[in-house]
Subunit: 320 residues, 2 copies
Amino acid sequence: MIDKKYSLGIDIGGTNTVFGLIDGGGHIIKKDSILTNSNNPPRSLFEKIFNTIKKWEIELDNSDIVRDIGVGVPNGNYFTGMVVSPPNMGKDWDELNLCSLIKTFNNVPVSITNDANAAALGEKYYGVAKSMNDVVIITLGSGLGSGIIVNNNMVYGHDGFAGELGHLSIDPEGRECGCGRRGCLEMYVSAKGLDYTTREYRREYPDNKFLQSIDAQNVDGKLFDDAFDDGNKIVIDIYKYTGHMLGIGLAQIATILSPEAFVFYGGLSNAKHRILDSAKDSMNDSLLSFQKNKIKILLSELSDGEAGILGAACLNILRN
Amino acid sequence: MIDKKYSLGIDIGGTNTVFGLIDGGGHIIKKDSILTNSNNPPRSLFEKIFNTIKKWEIELDNSDIVRDIGVGVPNGNYFTGMVVSPPNMGKDWDELNLCSLIKTFNNVPVSITNDANAAALGEKYYGVAKSMNDVVIITLGSGLGSGIIVNNNMVYGHDGFAGELGHLSIDPEGRECGCGRRGCLEMYVSAKGLDYTTREYRREYPDNKFLQSIDAQNVDGKLFDDAFDDGNKIVIDIYKYTGHMLGIGLAQIATILSPEAFVFYGGLSNAKHRILDSAKDSMNDSLLSFQKNKIKILLSELSDGEAGILGAACLNILRN
């Protein structure tokens, strides 16, 4: 009897790393989550992961279970296998040849890409984007990440750096971004952007009790969602503004790519229609006449943390 | 002996229509140019074209010379075969099923796309973009058109309307565009945009003799190029501004697609380095750090009017 082999999908985030064994049909056979602790040497993260794999091999009575390894990691480059200047990660992750490092643990085919691309592939192969050839998948997390599918394939660009939609400038005079430019989409539409907007509102309405009562360095999305549902005018306004700015960015992207849909996932996407309805209106307002009311705005239906490992697990199959 | 067959490439413009017979190696066997006269019924244009084909068949002693037909036409849709609301064309060209019309003349495979996409395919298969998998081709004509190649394929989007880079907004408070939006790239970077900028300068410098001496409804590019070379400060400024705005747009596109190069052709691209040098500087200023100084700015090397028919001639081969 030939032992069954699986793809190991790893989704490395600034805080948590999720990994799992995935079969060819996209079923997650085993899955675990550990802290990334990115200030420790990267090697120590993989020691933990491969110790768990050994445990799984014993449980499944299968001594050589990994066919290939795919990794989504901030600023991971599909072409070079390198991680360069990943935001919110320790310094040992900069200029790291991640493919080489992983191969010292298990010398099977290894591919990496950035975390947003991995999640996009998960949506494309196992999520709501399954039947779509042209679709843009957007993570609304602490920042705004994205993966773009065109003609049924991932868009990497000539150097692996395509799809930086968080840094699309929607206003040349807009908010200053950490990247050194102004008006980047993620300065408006992300947890960071929501905090920024909330602080602006707080300065504008110094007597508003609700605004003074909350932590505007780190807005609690659930609290905002509830306030929105209770008819809190300030929160309705803040969400409307956030959606409005998102819609402007989506229209820019649609002018270039005309995708069938934008698919959203990540923390801030839990606000759902509260942000996305106004995003849709503002996108349609800003689109060329023949594109209006044709592009879908969808929410991911995959479980939290699964898109990334599912997509990462596809990377080697797609390369071949 | 089997008669040789060729692809008929047709490039329909608001003023002129160029067409030619092209072999599998991209050699133009026969070529002609006629007035489009778009206020006449579209059928009359094709009567002229197919009369010329008959003449060519006699000259080449080959009675059935056309293998397939590809057409580049403003607002031509690759998926539907329809032309919808083409700018600067007569009303009979709106909502026109062009594929069906052409098949009444010759029932071979017919494909259409918009004129900018056709020219982009010409550059991709026979021009400076030949070796590139990811490249954006931009026409600087009366407007700004574009064709995008990603992963070696044309980007049509889900509905054939991708690549409208002329309508990428680079300033939400910017110049009003005929499309109903503000700050569209072509309102700055095209013959139309150059006229607009020149009129703004004329209002700002009412005593400038050079500015008062020229026709700012229809700027003569050659005159401006010569003035630039003679050190005319106003023209140098106008071109610098034009290039600056172009660079901002290119950076937006690069943030999304990270192409290997931008390739320029069309009337205003004859200004060459006079505009493109400042475009390059402004693009690099606006790019993310890891993209700076890596993306090429190139000029088309194909003869005037050839990119369109060469690319149109590829359409059916690519479809199969």
